[in-house]
Symmetry: C2
Subunit: 197 residues, 2 copies
């Protein structure tokens, strides 16, 4: 085992997903790139996301209490990066126009969803905690939309990772990555440790 | 663009990290596998994690207000899976003994850290929200420990992803994956959309 070094408090977990948050309305949508997001409960299905309190997205979320989480493919790295780099108010035209993203109304909430992202979650705010310059927003997942092309078959709700090819973010190194190969089956490979008696 | 299908509310974001949570003390550590975890703020560095309220881990966290987040390599998939599959109270011996994991005391908190995981965060609880059968625990990251072997050089706090080789969890499909290749540089590739004027 190699020696360890202490680095101080760093806001890094590896890896992080990289998603697009859409808020507001389909006609006037706010777009934000988020890596500080994950599921935190399934009773009901709930996500947590950190949103900088000064962001336009938070104003929309506060107004409508709804937003969508949209998973881009790794080919959309440039789109995700652009959306994360700039604040709408400093741009000459809306982000959807520049990035050629289109939005549809949600079916279970006021959240607009991004058509070009193959996987979308509609979310309704359930709890907000202020943590420094961020709001940690807990939101119930009320609907999932998935492109037929990423589902493993016509009956299943399972997503093929090779078809989705989700974008991944690496903190610190500031790079986007793709998903790699399967290592093992969960709820299975750990059984080897069980005492056979 | 292919047609989309609605799948109902599903607690899935792709991909998720897969970490080991250590709680209690080095001598009597509770170990839990968690994929419902991420950073949510950097003021101060803060993580959110969903912990099932009936878990031994939550009892420890409530008692000490501290825990560690330990990132396993993809080679530790079997260890992570075993820790996630079984409740300590139903096992004939402690999980660290079975999995040959060893623990050291934290240096900035009461949290024990897992020596065999090359990257560890010590965390102190700051806020707890009950969401169904889960507690969403917000905790401040108070120290980071990294193996010299995963750091890009002697001066840097940057982690080499190829050296760390972090374990990744895919919800629904219930599989473990490795990280794939780099796609693009963040804070860079999106600049191509900027109007050159």
């Amino acid at each position: 085992m190699t020696t360890k070094r202490t680095l101080g408090p760093l806001e890094r977990i590896f890896p992080m997903p990289c998603v697009l948050i859409a808020s507001g309305t389909p006609e006037y949508a706010g777009l934000m790139t988020a890596s500080w997001i994950n599921v935190v409960s399934n009773t009901p299905p709930t996500i947590a996301v950190g949103i900088r309190s000064s962001r336009e997205t938070y104003q929309h979320v506060e107004a409508t209490q709804a937003f969508s989480v949209n998973i881009p493919t790794s080919e959309m790295a440039d789109v995700a990066d652009y959306i994360g780099l700039y604040t709408s108010t400093k741009l000459s035209q809306p982000k959807p126009l520049t990035t050629e993203l289109t939005l549809s109304p949600g079916t279970a909430s006021l959240a607009p969803i991004i058509n070009e992202c193959p996987y979308n979650l509609e979310c309704i705010v359930s709890h907000v905690t202020e943590v420094g310059h961020y709001y940690v927003v807990l939101a119930e997942i009320v609907e999932t939309h998935a492109s037929e092309a990423i589902l493993v078959d016509e009956e299943s709700d399972l997503v093929s990772m090779d078809a989705l090819d989700p974008l991944i973010y690496i903190a610190g190194a500031r790079e986007y990555r793709r998903l790699g190969p399967k290592v093992a089956d969960a709820y299975s490979v750990g059984k080897r440790f069980v005492d056979p008696t």
